[in-house]
Symmetry: C2
Subunit: 107 residues, 2 copies
Amino acid sequence: MLDTTLQAIAEPRRRVILGLVLDRELSAGEIASHFDVTRPAISQHLAVLSAARLVTVRRHGARRLYRARREGLRELRAYLDQFWDERLGLLKKAAEAEEQRTQRRDA
Amino acid sequence: MLDTTLQAIAEPRRRVILGLVLDRELSAGEIASHFDVTRPAISQHLAVLSAARLVTVRRHGARRLYRARREGLRELRAYLDQFWDERLGLLKKAAEAEEQRTQRRDA
DNA sequence: CACAGAGGTTAGTTTACACTTATGTAAGTG
DNA sequence: CACTTACATAAGTGTAAACTAACCTCTGTG
């Protein structure tokens, strides 16, 4: 989840998209019109954001309306908070858990 | 900068490294010993983290000691804060500024 | 100074991903 | 019902990046 979120917002264009639909709904076409690239490219970015649950989609006639889903950034925010938190054991625990998942076998 | 930071921590192994050196200094070798991959791979990850200013390096004899630099995550934290902030104009402004940078020419 | 240990650097390979072109599908319009 | 609009999906391409193997550079020690 954290991984999915970070991968999604690591791409600059996707951050711009997120900013565009933060406080208003926009159709895929309206979003695409803000960029240089082709519409399918934006469509793919929207799919990534959607899979990461950083946006919601709503069909309205032939249109698809997108809007940012702020909840999707909660976990990342919590992760970062631990870097300032006094009791850092939580972060270490999380890091070690991830380490377990990352490497299959151990010495 | 934000981009550099996000790219750096988007890689899972680098997040684990960051967790390892969060509250203590570790040598490159000690860090590498926590992973399955070869030392050069870790060395490269450390270079990325260092370039993103997410870790500091200190030479102690033949060793290089690494430690997390929490300040490096300030900007990212500020970016995320705007998603919860009431006055969202700031984020929109940032997004538009990035958009300007992203696409060279405009209609 | 020779040699061993610690670790960064280079070159080459593989995989992931952002992109384009082409095609498919659902919803409105004459 | 033909046609257009709105958008997604598929297939193919180029490039970035994570990795390995091999080499190079320091630092400390006999």
